[in-house]
C-alpha cells in the first residue's frame, strides 16, 4: 500500500463524511433541534432526488432540477407538517414514530405510483464532470469536491441559524417547552412549519446532490435514514458541530475500515477469506463505534451545550 493510496482513502473518508453530513443536515434540524423523531426523513430525501431527476430530464438542466428538488421537498415537508406532524407535538414521541413510519409507506408507494418501478436517470451536470489532479498525483472527481463545498456551506449556514439567530433560539425554546414559548408571544406553530419545511428542503437538496452520484430509486432514502441518525447521535443531538464531526468520523472510519480490515486480516488468513470476514467486520464497524462512543459518552461526543 502506498502513501498516496492511504491519503486518497483518507480524503475519501472525509468526503464521505461531508456527504453524510449533507444527508443528515435536514434531520439535524428536525430531529436534533426540534426534537421530532422523523422516520420519513429518508422519504423527503427521495422526493428531492426524484424531483430533480424528473425536472432535469424534462428541462435538460440539472440546475433547474436542483431548484425543483428544494422546492418539492419543502412543499412536501410543509404539507406533512400541516396535516400530520402538527397534531403530534404534544403527544408521546412514539406517536411520531408510528405516523412517520406510515409516511414512509405512503411516500414510497406514492413515488412508485408516479414514477414507475425502474430507477431514474440523473447525471452529474456537465460543469462538474470529470476529475481533477490533486497534488501528489491522485485524481479526484470534481463533483465530489462540489459536494464537500455544499456540505460545508450547509453546515455553516445551519450553525449560524441555530446558534446565532433569534429564530434558532425560538426553535430550541420550542423544543423544551412549546406552551411557554407560545405564551411569550411567539407563533411557534407557524415557526415549526417553516422549520420543518426547511429541514425537508435540505433533505431534498441532499437527495438531488447525492442522487446524481447514486441511483435514484424508490427506497433510496432508507439506508440514508439510519446513517443520518447514527451521525447525529454520535455527534450529540442538537449540536451542528457535533453532527459535522460525527459525520466526518463515520465517513473516515467506514472508509478506512472497508479498506484496511481485509488487508490486515490478509496477514492471517487466505485473501478470499480475508475479504469475506473483513467485509463483514467493516459493515459492522460504524455500529460498533457508535455503541462504544455512547457507552463512554452517553450523550454523544458533543452533548449539546448549544449549536
Amino acid at each position: 500500500m502506498t502513501l498516496a493510496l492511504a491519503l486518497e482513502q483518507l480524503l475519501n473518508g472525509l468526503q464521505l463524511g461531508v456527504m453524510l453530513f449533507l444527508m443528515a443536515a435536514g434531520l439535524t434540524l428536525i430531529f436534533g433541534v426540534m426534537g421530532l423523531i422523523n422516520l420519513a426523513h429518508g422519504s423527503l430525501y427521495m422526493v428531492g432526488a426524484f424531483a430533480c431527476a424528473a425536472v432535469a430530464s424534462a428541462t435538460g438542466s440539472f440546475w433547474i432540477g436542483l431548484i425543483a428538488s428544494f422546492a418539492c421537498a419543502a412543499a412536501a415537508g410543509a404539507i406533512v407538517e400541516l396535516l400530520v406532524i402538527r397534531r403530534l407535538y404534544d403527544r408521546d414521541h412514539l406517536d411520531q414514530v408510528l405516523a412517520t413510519f406510515a409516511l414512509i409507506l405512503i411516500f414510497s408507494e406514492g413515488t412508485r405510483w408516479l414514477f414507475g418501478s425502474f430507477p431514474l436517470y440523473l447525471d452529474i451536470p456537465r460543469l462538474l464532470q470529470g476529475a481533477v489532479a490533486l497534488p501528489g498525483g491522485a485524481q479526484y472527481p470534481v463533483y465530489r469536491l462540489a459536494i464537500i463545498a455544499a456540505g460545508a456551506l450547509v453546515a455553516l449556514g445551519l450553525y449560524l441559524l441555530i446558534g446565532k439567530t433569534r429564530l434558532g433560539m425560538r426553535i430550541r425554546a420550542g423544543e423544551s417547552d412549546r406552551e411557554m414559548i407560545g405564551a411569550l408571544g411567539v407563533d411557534i406553530r407557524t415557526l415549526y412549519t417553516v422549520v420543518f419545511a426547511l429541514g425537508a428542503a435540505l433533505a431534498g437538496f441532499a437527495g438531488a446532490m447525492v442522487g446524481a452520484l447514486q441511483s435514484v430509486q424508490v427506497g433510496m432514502g432508507e439506508p440514508v435514514l439510519i446513517l443520518a441518525f447514527v451521525v447525529i447521535v454520535i455527534g450529540g443531538i442538537g449540536s451542528i458541530k457535533g453532527a459535522l464531526l460525527g459525520a466526518l468520523l463515520v465517513g473516515v472510519v467506514d472508509t478506512m475500515g472497508r479498506f484496511l480490515l481485509p488487508q490486515v486480516l490478509a496477514l492471517f488468513v487466505p485473501p478470499s477469506q480475508a475479504g469475506l470476514i473483513g467485509g463483514a467486520a467493516a459493515s459492522m464497524l460504524i455500529y460498533v463505534m457508535m455503541a462504544l462512543i455512547l457507552a463512554v459518552k452517553p450523550r454523544g461526543l458533543f452533548a449539546a451545550a448549544h449549536a
Binding site: 491522485a138 465530489r144 447514486q214 441511483s215 479498506f259 475479504g275 459493515s283
Partner: protein
C-alpha cells in the same frame, strides 16, 4: 379442472422493477398459450421472506395452487421453495437459483427456467481469460455475492489482484475505486445488481480511472441501464440472452413484449416468459395432478425459447449457451448487443452432485 399457478414476486419497494418484468414476461407467455384452463394468481412479496412464506402458505392452503413461481431473490426462494416441494407442489423458478438447490438437495418438483446463480459469473471468468492478465473482482457480501466470485474464479486463470466484498446496499464506492486505481489490475469484474451497480458505475465514470469494467448481466440488465446512462456504454457483460439474439422466437417475443408493455424486456422477463411457456407446454399434454407425467413433460422443455436452444440438465437447471454482450446505444435507448458466445451448452458445477 384448471391448472392454478401462484406467482409470488416483488411488486413493491425498491426491487419492484425485477418483479414487474417477471410478472409481465410470464403473463405474456400464458396469454400466448391461449389456454383458458390456466389460472394465475399474483401476489406481492415486498422483497420480505416472511411475507413470501405467508403468501405461499395461503396459495397452497386456500387457493390450492398446483405450481408456484415468480420469486426473484435467492433468500426468498430459500424460504418458499423447499417447503413448497415438500408439500408436493411444483416450483418453477424464474430467476433465483441458489447453489443449495442445484446439487445434493435437488428435487424432482423444483425446476429452474433461468440458470444456476453461478453461470453468468463463470462466463465472465472464462471471457476474461482472453485479454486480461490481472483482475480486480468485487461483489456484495452476501451468499449470491460469494457465489458470484467463486463462479468467476472457477474459470478465470489469470491473477486476481484483490477480491473485495462490499456492503449489501452500499451507495458510495470511492474507497473501492481508489483500490482499483492502485491495484495494477487490467480489468475489473463487478457483480453489483440494482441500485448498487448504478451508483458504482456513475462514480467510476467520474473517477478518472480507465481500467475496463465487466460484470454479469444482472449488473447491466435492461432495468438499470437507463439509470446508469452513458457511463455504461461499451461495458462487457455476460448473458444467456440479448434483445438482438438472432432467432425467430426472440424476434416474436421482443416485438410482442414491446407491443404489450411499451418497453424493452430484460433477462428477468425472458426467464419468466420461458417459465410460462414451459408450464403451458406441459399443461397442454399432461394433468398436473399426475405429478410424474407432468414432470416428464416439463423436462422435455418443448418450447421455442427466445434464448434459442433450451434444455434441462439432470438437476432440472438449464443447459444453455452463454454470451458476452456489450452495452450499446440503439437510437436513444441503451441496450445489450451480443458479441460472441463464451460457453455453448453450459452445465452448472453442481449438477454432478444431484442424484435424481
Amino acid at each position: 379442472e384448471p391448472l392454478k399457478i401462484g406467482m409470488i414476486t416483488t411488486l413493491s419497494g425498491g426491487g419492484a422493477g425485477l418483479g414487474i418484468d417477471t410478472r409481465d414476461g410470464f403473463m405474456l407467455a400464458i396469454k400466448q398459450a391461449g389456454n383458458d384452463e390456466i389460472e394465475v394468481i399474483t401476489e406481492d412479496d415486498g422483497q420480505k421472506p416472511e411475507l413470501a412464506v405467508q403468501i405461499a402458505d395461503k396459495m397452497v392452503q386456500s387457493d390450492q395452487v398446483d405450481i408456484l413461481t415468480g420469486i426473484v431473490w435467492s433468500n426468498l426462494l430459500m424460504a418458499v421453495a423447499p417447503s413448497a416441494v415438500a408439500q408436493g407442489k411444483f416450483y418453477v423458478s424464474t430467476n433465483a437459483a441458489p447453489a443449495a438447490l442445484a446439487g445434493e438437495n435437488c428435487n424432482p418438483l423444483y425446476f429452474n427456467a433461468a440458470y444456476q446463480n453461478d453461470n453468468l459469473h463463470e462466463a465472465m471468468g472464462e471471457y476474461a481469460n482472453k485479454d486480461y492478465k490481472k483482475m480486480f473482482i468485487m461483489a456484495p457480501n452476501y451468499p449470491a455475492g460469494k457465489d458470484s466470485l467463486t463462479g468467476f474464479k472457477r474459470f478465470y486463470k489469470g491473477e486476481v489482484t484483490s477480491e473485495v466484498y462490499t456492503q449489501v446496499g452500499q451507495t458510495d464506492y470511492a474507497a473501492e475505486i481508489a483500490q482499483i486505481r492502485a491495484s495494477g489490475a487490467d480489468g475489473v469484474f463487478a457483480f453489483l445488481p440494482g441500485g448498487m451497480g448504478i451508483a458504482f458505475m456513475k462514480q467510476y465514470a467520474q473517477s478518472g480511472v480507465k481500467i475496463s469494467i465487466m460484470g454479469p448481466g444482472f449488473s447491466f440488465s435492461q432495468d438499470v441501464l437507463g439509470a446508469i446512462g452513458d457511463a455504461a456504454l461499451g461495458v462487457k457483460n455476460s448473458g444467456h440472452w440479448a434483445k438482438d439474439l438472432d432467432n425467430e422466437a426472440n424476434k416474436k417475443f421482443v416485438e410482442a413484449f414491446q407491443a404489450e408493455y411499451g418497453r424493452l424486456p430484460s433477462i428477468y422477463a425472458v426467464q419468466a416468459y420461458d417459465a410460462g411457456q414451459l408450464i403451458a407446454s406441459a399443461a397442454a399434454k399432461a394433468d398436473v395432478k399426475d405429478t410424474e407425467a407432468f414432470r416428464a413433460e416439463l423436462l422435455k422443455a418443448d418450447i421455442q425459447s427466445p434464448r434459442g436452444k433450451f434444455k434441462f440438465n439432470i438437476n432440472q437447471h438449464p443447459i444453455q449457451d452463454i454470451y458476452v454482450r456489450e452495452v450499446v446505444k440503439d437510437g436513444d435507448v441503451l441496450t445489450n448487443k451480443i458479441i460472441a458466445p463464451v460457453f455453448t451448452d453450459h452445465e452448472d458445477a453442481y449438477a454432478k452432485d444431484c442424484k435424481m
